[in-house]
């Protein structure tokens, strides 16, 4: 039955989440909203790992470990990004990527 949720439905959702995050990354100019888009992308990857672990290799736990490590690295990434954002706001009074061009060259 097509409506019964399974691997393909979860892959649809995670792919949709990935490209929604991608859309946010293309259109947003504010650093915090870009960070939020990155979080959406990372979450879609985690959902993919867990779905493959559940439906294709239920005899192993590798997907679970990859998800745990991705979550840990995402937490570190968010902390560093927010420290940089706050420091940038302190020196430029703005966190718009169009107005902070000193690191460009």
């Amino acid at each position: 039955m097509l409506l019964l949720p399974g691997l393909y439905h979860l892959l649809f959702i995670s792919t949709a989440l990935f490209f929604i995050g991608m859309f946010g990354f293309f259109t947003r100019k504010n650093l915090i909203t870009m960070l939020m888009s990155v979080e959406l992308i990372l979450n879609s990857v985690n959902l993919n790992f867990i779905a493959f672990n559940k439906y294709l290799w239920p005899n192993r736990l590798d997907g679970v470990f990859f998800t745990i490590f991705v979550i840990a690295i995402a937490a570190a990434e968010a902390a560093v990004a927010i420290a940089i954002i706050i420091n940038l706001y302190r020196s430029h009074q703005s966190i718009d990527v169009a107005q902070t061009e000193e690191m460009k060259y």
């Binding site: 409506l3 019964l4 949720p5 691997l7 393909y8 439905h9 979860l10 892959l11 649809f12 959702i13 792919t15 989440l17 490209f19 929604i20 995050g21 991608m22 859309f23 946010g24 293309f26 259109t27 947003r28 915090i32 909203t33 939020m36 888009s37 979080e39 959406l40 979450n43 985690n46 867990i50 672990n53 559940k54 294709l56 290799w57 239920p58 005899n59 736990l61 679970v64 470990f65 745990i68 490590f69 979550i71 840990a72 690295i73 937490a75 570190a76 990434e77 968010a78 902390a79 560093v80 927010i82 420290a83 940089i84 954002i85 706050i86 420091n87 706001y89 302190r90 966190i95 718009d96």
Partner: protein, 182 residues
């Protein structure tokens, strides 16, 4: 239609709708709250797949940690009630078209692919099994990545403090005033 199916589609609607609102809302605080609901929906998917430990980690780290961090940084850097600037409509249309085409391409490949599941006995992904495998030093154990990630986290947090610390050389006036107060 069973209860499990209904719960799946409700979670899908919650996750995708709030994700779309999180990337399109012009009020940044609302965008953060929509992101919170999207992350809760993903935790619901982990519960739906009966990966309880991952769902708990998702709620603790993402919903309780990263979203609160984002909300605090919004408080520190944005003026209340200020809307984000409107983007050019052409750029938005181009981004939406590019994203939709890529999505269609990826989904086409996924539906054409025939995934073959293993036939071996499934193991229960409970905390005991995860913990034993996490600290095993035998083949298939994850002790080394665990240590590497812990060092990475330590380095990242020390780096955050170094980046965000207020240096006294750049703002001598305030430090003098503060010293006068003391």
């Amino acid at each position: 239609m069973s209860g499990s199916t209904i719960v799946f589609y409700l979670l899908a609607i919650l996750t995708l709708v709030s994700a779309v609102l999180a990337v399109s809302s012009r009020q940044i605080f609302r965008a953060a709250i929509y992101l919170l609901f999207s992350l809760i929906g993903i935790a619901g998917f982990y519960f739906w797949m009966q990966y309880d430990f991952i769902a708990a980690v998702q709620i603790i780290v993402y919903v309780g940690g990263i979203t609160v961090l984002i909300i605090f940084s919004i408080f520190l850097t944005q003026n209340a009630g200020e809307l984000l600037p409107q983007q050019k409509i052409g750029k938005q249309v181009f981004a939406a078209a590019a994203v939709f085409c890529s999505f269609a391409l990826v989904m086409l490949q996924v539906y054409k692919n025939n995934f073959i599941a293993t036939t071996e006995q499934a193991i229960e992904p409970n905390i005991k099994a995860i913990g034993e495998r996490m600290l095993a030093t035998t083949a298939g154990g994850y002790a080394l990545p665990f240590e590497v990630v812990s060092i990475l986290l330590l380095a990242a947090l020390v780096g955050c403090i170094v980046i965000a610390i207020r240096s006294t050389t750049t703002q001598p006036l305030t430090t003098v005033q503060e010293q006068d107060k003391i």
